[in-house]
Amino acid sequence: MVTLGGHIKETGSTTKTKTGGWRTFKPVIHMDKCVDCGCCWIFCPDMSILRKDGEYSVDLEYCKGCGICSRECPTGAIEMVLEEK
């Protein structure tokens, strides 16, 4: 049922939908090549590059496999690998 005024009380609730299922290729980060520039992080449309203390990882629950992070990485540290399920 639609609430009065279409009011949604739970903010950020799109996280319930795991868009990772859209992916064909998945990014794999080779940390030995990473120079901690943050390009992949800032350009990801799906908030799926996780960054903590210079370590980078991919949130595969939501990453749609667009390939921007890989393309924008200046050192070629991110490889796009075909998903096999």
């Binding site: 639609v2 609430t3 279409g6 949604i8 739970e10 903010t11 950020g12 609730s13 799109t14 996280t15 319930k16 939908t17 795991k18 868009t19 859209w22 992916r23 290729f25 120079v35 520039c37 943050g38 390009c39 992080w41 800032i42 350009f43 990801c44 449309p45 799906d46 908030m47 799926s48 960054r51 949130d59 629950e61 939501y62 749609k64 496999g65 667009c66 390939g67 921007i68 890989s70 393309r71 924008e72 990485c73 200046p74 050192t75 070629g76 991110i78 490889e79 796009m80 690998v81 075909l82």
Partner: protein
């Protein structure tokens, strides 16, 4: 299977950053991506297409404005993909309004906050796509700017009505093919120049007006911060890519968007209290063909038309960058 990762040839950074072109981490401009807020106020799980540049425009705007923000949003892709009822990607109070009145509703929100004595603590942003801003929401926008509300209007410009299947808007560039400016024996695509909305908003005497591009995230982030800090109305027009609407591969979404600036198709500037300033000058000027040939919406253009587009860019370039 592996996909080769090739760094485009025009990307030649001195070290391992791309300072000279994307300004992601730059010593010259004293910018660093680490200055950007870690807080994600735009949640994943939104339904934007893979590689959508417009969602990056939303994400960065919220990072710059922070959680004490109330936003209004005209319909359009960013509204539709972020609020598939009963879910929402927004982690701030956000109001979906009709197509034409994002600026009007934001004006009301601002007036209410003022009446409550809370305006100093809360930022107000009105979002709209190019259709919702340049065409349909223009009257509401003009009114909000003229009345002097303390709010920031952000137009994310993907250069057509994307959510309903790529119809031409007043912001569609000359020559682009859309479903309502198709290519054929008697049509070259859109035969009208792009409406210069930032200039029209500036003509209202608005104290802060800026153009930006998602491909230059720090420049955009700083502009949103300045617009929010500015007392009174402010306006940002951010060029944002749309892979299906432009006919480009998702991974090249940012790279092609960046070419718009490096060819002079899109210029990054700000106008503060009537004084203009270019915020980024491309190190080298790339021929516009490099931008046009990689997009399906421009692929039909013949040499003569490209030369015509180049000519108009050259004129503007010499006015702006050569003195």
């Amino acid at each position: 299977m592996k996909v080769a990762v090739d760094v485009p040839s025009y990307v030649k950074c001195r070290q391992s950053c791309r300072a000279s072109m994307s300004a992601v981490r730059c010593w010259r401009f004293k910018r660093n991506v680490k200055d950007v807020s870690e807080e994600e106020l735009f949640a994943p799980g939104h339904r934007g297409c893979a590689g959508c540049g417009c969602t990056v425009a939303m994400r960065l705007a919220l990072k710059a404005s922070g959680k004490n923000t109330i936003a209004t949003h005209a319909t359009g892709c960013m509204e539709v993909v972020s609020s598939p009822y009963p879910e929402t990607a927004w982690r701030i109070p956000w109001i979906h309004v009709a197509f034409e009145n994002s600026a009007a509703v934001a004006s009301g929100v601002e007036a209410a906050l003022k009446a409550l004595g809370k305006k100093d603590k809360v930022n107000v942003i009105a979002f709209g796509g190019d259709g919702g801003t340049v065409d349909i929401g223009f009257q509401a926008l003009s009114g909000a700017m003229e009345r002097g509300h303390d709010l920031t209007y952000i137009c994310y410009d993907n250069e057509a009505y994307m959510n309903t299947g790529v119809q031409r808007s007043g912001s569609t560039p000359f020559g682009a093919a859309t479903t309502t400016s198709p290519v054929g024996a008697v049509s070259l695509g859109n035969d009208r120049p792009k409406k210069d909305l930032p200039a029209i908003v500036a003509a209202h005497g608005v104290g802060y007006v800026a153009t930006a591009s998602v491909a230059f995230p720090l420049d955009y982030y700083e502009k949103v911060k300045r617009a929010i800090a500015h007392k009174g109305p402010s306006y940002i027009h951010v060029h944002s890519s749309c892979p299906p609407g432009w006919g480009i591969p998702s991974e090249k979404s940012i790279e092609i968007l960046r070419l718009a600036v490096d060819t002079g198709m899109w210029v990054l500037y700000e106008i503060v209290d009537g004084k203009g300033r270019i915020t980024y000058k491309p190190a080298t000027k790339h021929p516009v063909e490099e931008y046009l040939k990689v997009q399906k919406r421009f692929r039909h253009l013949d040499d003569e038309t490209i030369a015509k587009i180049q000519e108009s860019i050259d004129k503007r370039w010499s006015e702006l960058f050569e003195d």
